[in-house]
Symmetry: C7
Subunit: 96 residues, 7 copies
Amino acid sequence: MKVHPLYDRVLLKRLEEQEVKRGGIIIPDSAKEKPLEAEIIEAGKGRVNDEGKTIGLAVKKGDHVLIGKYSGTEVTIDGVELVIVREEEILAVIEK
Amino acid sequence: MKVHPLYDRVLLKRLEEQEVKRGGIIIPDSAKEKPLEAEIIEAGKGRVNDEGKTIGLAVKKGDHVLIGKYSGTEVTIDGVELVIVREEEILAVIEK
Amino acid sequence: MKVHPLYDRVLLKRLEEQEVKRGGIIIPDSAKEKPLEAEIIEAGKGRVNDEGKTIGLAVKKGDHVLIGKYSGTEVTIDGVELVIVREEEILAVIEK
Amino acid sequence: MKVHPLYDRVLLKRLEEQEVKRGGIIIPDSAKEKPLEAEIIEAGKGRVNDEGKTIGLAVKKGDHVLIGKYSGTEVTIDGVELVIVREEEILAVIEK
Amino acid sequence: MKVHPLYDRVLLKRLEEQEVKRGGIIIPDSAKEKPLEAEIIEAGKGRVNDEGKTIGLAVKKGDHVLIGKYSGTEVTIDGVELVIVREEEILAVIEK
Amino acid sequence: MKVHPLYDRVLLKRLEEQEVKRGGIIIPDSAKEKPLEAEIIEAGKGRVNDEGKTIGLAVKKGDHVLIGKYSGTEVTIDGVELVIVREEEILAVIEK
Amino acid sequence: MKVHPLYDRVLLKRLEEQEVKRGGIIIPDSAKEKPLEAEIIEAGKGRVNDEGKTIGLAVKKGDHVLIGKYSGTEVTIDGVELVIVREEEILAVIEK
């Protein structure tokens, strides 16, 4: 099943803490509210402005990003826990 | 009786949990606040911008979508429980 | 006495529950907060945009519409209970 | 003393309940929060948009209108109790 | 010392109740929240729109106006109690 | 060390009450919430509008202004207590 | 690992109090809520306006800036404590 987020929404898979550690971000137990790394599974086409023109997103499928721990709406697709956020809620793109 | 949602509103039929399961989304009892799958019965023509031009919707009749469990306004049409949401409240379109 | 709603306001007559039932919408006692059917008695000319141009409404006199049970402001005109809402508060137009 | 309301403001005289009754609107004691009839004593020239152009009002001096019972700011001019509202707060124009 | 209010701000001198009474507005003790008469000592040049153009004010130095009793910020200039308000907070201009 | 406020922000030095008194504004002990006089140490270049154009400020370095007692953010630069405000928070320019 | 802040976001490293003191800003223990000095590690490309045009930032990598003590979101990258803020939250650029 494919999920196409609408407009400026993005479907993300949060990365396991272990993967995160290997990725370079250390998340101590006492700081679980810190942003987490996630991978973009599918991105919307962008918001539509008041003239009906689509303004594309700055992120794309496959990007690794930082999002707040409590950002977005959780959803389970084909048994996998994912999260849908607005691009606005993405803090940064990570490059390794 | 036909119901024509106004502007950016969309008339939806929530899909039964059983159908949802067959559709691939597993909703455990303990997570009932997660988004639910729904089918678009009728879509509005789109919002009207400040110059009077209609900006069409990205979804259409027949689309399967994800909406928040508590999104929209419930309405009973010809004995069937439906829900009216703004397109803004639709998280994603689902393709199987 | 004629009442001309201003701008995007609409004057409505709520339909009796009995009429509503005949119209196809069943409203059980336990769900009185659900939207109700209403008939447009008089519609405003539309909102005026920032350049002074009037953007007409999508609804017109005689339309049957769905509005929230607690939408709008109640007013008694010539002994009849009516309600004035903004077009924004109308969920859908009903066609039978 | 003349009072010129600024921009989209309107100076109104609320009509006595007795006059209101003769005008067709019946206001029972138990429904005092319902809109009341009022007469426009003086109207502003309209709001000024972001380019400095004045967008005129839809109401004018002498119009009878419906306003919310608690709308606007009360003011006493030459011993007469009046009320200043924004045109936005006027629900409808009444024609007899 | 001269005080030049910025943009859409206006420097006002509230008129004494005695003057006010002579001016035609009667303010009973029990209604001290009613708008008060004030004289414009100095007016700003107007707000600057998003293109950098100044949109002039509708009021000018010397105008008598009505403002809410608690509007604006009090300031003491050369020993005189004055008040600075935004033009938005002025209800009306008074002409005698 | 030089501090360049960003966009529409302004760096100010509050004037001592003694200086203020000589400047003509009397601030009794019981009215410490009244606006205070301050001198502009450095001004930003102005806000940038939605097309990327800078809209300059109305105030400049050296201007004496009135600001609310609790406006802005306090900052200590080279041992001197200063305050950073948005130009929006400046009530008026003072000329002696 | 490189972190690219999105749009108008900026990645900052707060400077130690000791460094700050040498930099000229004295932060007494009793005033820890005062703005702190920080260095820009990486800046976003700027916000995208409603026509899809990018409006660049006024700050760049390497700039020393003042931000509120509690501004932004903390993040740990490769073991270093950093903070991501919107450019809007930066009070001033510091030049030594």
